[in-house]
C-alpha cells in the first residue's frame, strides 16, 4: 500500500500531466514576438491563448513567461533593472527577497541585465535585452516549488532572443 501510494506520485501524476494537451511549442523552431523579435522555445513550454500583439505569453507547469516585443530603448538598462528591483523590494503585498541585478549576453551577442526575487510562494525573474537602441523585456513568474524545473528552460529562451531589426523611435 505504501509503495503503491508512492508510485502514484512518481508515475501516475506525471503521466496524467503528459496526457493533458498543453499544445507545446516545437523546440528549436523560432517564434516571432511582435514584428521584430524572435525567440526559440525550450522543452515543455506552450503558447498561452492569452498572448496578444503587445505580449507573448508562454506557460509551463503553472509558470508564465511574458515576452514584450522590441521597443525603443527608453532609459539605460542598468536604471531600468534597478527600477524593477526597487519595485519588488518595495512591494507591500509580498516580502520579496531581491537579488542584486546582474548582466548577461544572449547567444546573438546582445547585452542584457536581470534581477531575481523570491517570496514565500513565488519566484520571479526579469530580464531586459538591448540591441541597437531597442529593448525587449521578459518576465518569468513561477511557484517556488517548480522553479528548479523551469528556470533553466526560461534562461535558454531569453538567451535565444534575436532582434530582427532596429526599432525606430
Amino acid at each position: 500500500m505504501v509503495l503503491l501510494s508512492a508510485l502514484f506520485f512518481i508515475l501516475v501524476i506525471p503521466a496524467l500531466d503528459d496526457l493533458i494537451e498543453h499544445t507545446e511549442l516545437e523546440v528549436g523552431t523560432p517564434l516571432a514576438v511582435g514584428e521584430n523579435l524572435l525567440m526559440t522555445p525550450a522543452q515543455g513550454w506552450a503558447l498561452s491563448p492569452d498572448s496578444t500583439q503587445a505580449q507573448t505569453i508562454l506557460t509551463n507547469s503553472g509558470t508564465q513567461i511574458v515576452v514584450t516585443p522590441a521597443q525603443p530603448l527608453s532609459q539605460p538598462v542598468a536604471d531600468q533593472i534597478q527600477d524593477a528591483s526597487d519595485a519588488l523590494a518595495n512591494d507591500p503585498d509580498k516580502s520579496w527577497v531581491v537579488t542584486e541585478p546582474t548582466t548577461f549576453t544572449t547567444l546573438a551577442g546582445d547585452p542584457g541585465a536581470t534581477v531575481t526575487a523570491q517570496s514565500k510562494e513565488t519566484s520571479t525573474q526579469s530580464w531586459i535585452v538591448t540591441h541597437d537602441g531597442s529593448q525587449a523585456t521578459v518576465v518569468l513568474v513561477a511557484p517556488v516549488a517548480v522553479w528548479d524545473a523551469v528556470s533553466e528552460g526560461a534562461t535558454d529562451i531569453v538567451e535565444s532572443l534575436q532582434f530582427a531589426q532596429t526599432v525606430e523611435p
Partner: protein, 395 residues
C-alpha cells in the same frame, strides 16, 4: 433492545509484538519499501543539493548551517512536547529521512506535474495554482511516512500522540530540505551572496516557517496514530484519519492562497494563527488520551508496588513531577532529587513499555529491573537521611 456496545462494537486493532527496538526490521516488507523509496528520493534530491554546493560552496555551507541550527531548535521544541516518553532516536532519524528524501525527492517529480495538471484545470493565470497543487502532493506524501512507520511494529506508533510526534518530525525533515533548496535558488541567482541567504532564512524560517510543514504533518500524523490504535469502529477510525489529512491539506492551501495577501506579515499571522490553534487543540486531545491510557495501565496492568494509580497521579504532568522532585530535594538534598527524577523516568519507561510491548515483554522486564534499582536507591537515601527506617525484609 440493542446495547450501545452492540451498535458500535469496539474492536481492538490487531497488534503485532515488536521484534526490533526501532523501525529497522529486516524482516518487514514495509521497511524495505522505505529503503527503496528513500534511495529513489535521494537520487532526485542529492544532485540538486550537490549542484548548489558546487556552484556556491560558501553560501551553500552557510545555508546548511543556518537551516541545521533551525532544525535543531525546532526538533528540541517538538522533543519537549513529549509528555511521558522519549521516542527512539533511530525512529526519529528514520522520520527525518522520510521527510527529507522520500517527500523531497518524489516532490521534485510530482510537484511540477501536479502544478501542470492544476494549471490546466484552473487556468494558467490563476492565483490559486500553488495553493491547490502543493497540498495535493506534499500532505499525502508526508502522512504516508507516518503510515509506513505505523506498519512496522518496532516503530511503536501506539497512540495519536506518537503519530503527531513523528508527523512533526517528518514535516521538519521535508521543510529543511525544501527551504535549503529555495534558499540556494535565490543565492545562486545572487552569485552566492550571503545577505540573500540570511534574507531567505528569515523569510522562510521566521516569517512563514513557524506554522509550516511540521505543524501540518503533526495534525495529519495524529490522525494516523488514532487510526492504528483506537478501539473505535473501523469506519470512525478511517473518518478521523481522512479528516486529519483533509484538515492538513485545507490549512496548507489556505496558507499558500492569495487570500488576505495585502500585507505579508499580517497575512502570515492571520493565516498562521488558525493552524497553530488547531495544532494546540489536537495536542491537548492527544495528551489527554495518552494520559488516560497510561493511567489505565497503572490501574489495571502494572503492579501497584511498581507504579500505583497514586504514583501515576504524581507522574501525570511535568509540573507535578518537578514539584515532587523539589520536595525530594528539600528532604533528601540534591542526590534525593536526582534519585526521584530517575525513579519517575523509570516508572514512565515501564508504563511506556507495558503500553507498547506488553507487560510480559522483554522490554518490560528490563524496565522493571531498572525501576526496582531506582526504588532501592531512593529507599537507601531515605534511610540515610532518617526519613524512613530500614526495611527489615531487605536485610
Amino acid at each position: 433492545m440493542s446495547t450501545p456496545a452492540s451498535r458500535s462494537p469496539r474492536v481492538r486493532p490487531v497488534r503485532v509484538s515488536p521484534r526490533t527496538y526501532s523501525f529497522i526490521d529486516l524482516r518487514s516488507g514495509v521497511f524495505w519499501v522505505i529503503v527503496l523509496l528513500a534511495t529513489y528520493g535521494a537520487s532526485q534530491v542529492i544532485p540538486l543539493l550537490a549542484s548548489t554546493l558546487v556552484k556556491h560552496p560558501d553560501a551553500g555551507m552557510l545555508a546548511a548551517i543556518l537551516w541545521g541550527l533551525y532544525a535543531l531548535a525546532f526538533a528540541l521544541i517538538v522533543y519537549r512536547l513529549e509528555l511521558f516518553e522519549r521516542r527512539s532516536p533511530v525512529n526519529i532519524l528514520g522520520a527525518v529521512v522520510w521527510g527529507a528524501t522520500v517527500c523531497g525527492g518524489i516532490g521534485v517529480v510530482a510537484a511540477p506535474a501536479m502544478h501542470g495538471i492544476v494549471a490546466a484545470w484552473l487556468g494558467e493565470q490563476s492565483q490559486w495554482i500553488s495553493a491547490v497543487s502543493a497540498p495535493l502532493v506534499e500532505e499525502p506524501l508526508k502522512m504516508l511516512g507516518v503510515i509506513a512507520l505505523a506498519l512496522i511494529p518496532g516503530a511503536r506508533i501506539r497512540s495519536a500522540a506518537d503519530g503527531l510526534f513523528y508527523g512533526a518530525i517528518i514535516g521538519l525533515g521535508f521543510m529543511i530540505v525544501e527551504n535549503y533548496l529555495y534558499t540556494m535558488q535565490a543565492a545562486t541567482a545572487a552569485n552566492g551572496n550571503y545577505t540573500t541567504v540570511f534574507d531567505v532564512v528569515i523569510l522562510r524560517g521566521v516569517i512563514s516557517g513557524l506554522w509550516s510543514h511540521a505543524t501540518l504533518t503533526a495534525i495529519a500524523g495524529a490522525g494516523v496514530g488514532y487510526f492504528f490504535n483506537s478501539t473505535r469502529p473501523r469506519r470512525q477510525r478511517w473518518g478521523v484519519m481522512l479528516t486529519a489529512l483533509a484538515l492538513a491539506m485545507v490549512l496548507h492551501a489556505f496558507f499558500d492562497s492569495p487570500l488576505l495577501d495585502t500585507n505579508v506579515y499580517a497575512a502570515t499571522i492571520a493565516k498562521g494563527v488558525p493552524v497553530l490553534v488547531m495544532l494546540l487543540a489536537i495536542l491537548q486531545v492527544v495528551h489527554t488520551r495518552e494520559r488516560e491510557i497510561l493511567a489505565n495501565l497503572a490501574r489495571h496492568t502494572v503492579p501497584d508496588d511498581l507504579v500505583s494509580p497514586l504514583d501515576f497521579a504524581l507522574l501525570s504532568d511535568r509540573g507535578i513531577r518537578r514539584s515532587v522532585q523539589a520536595s525530594a530535594r528539600k528532604s533528601l538534598g540534591l542526590p534525593g532529587a536526582l534519585a526521584m527524577r530517575q525513579l519517575q523516568h523509570r516508572q514512565l519507561a515501564l508504563l511506556s513499555a507495558a503500553h507498547e510491548d506488553g507487560m510480559d515483554s522483554e522490554r518490560s522486564d528490563d524496565a522493571v529491573a531498572l525501576l526496582l534499582s531506582a526504588q532501592a536507591t531512593l529507599a537507601q537515601l531515605r534511610v540515610e537521611a532518617g526519613v524512613d527506617r530500614p526495611d527489615p525484609a531487605a536485610r
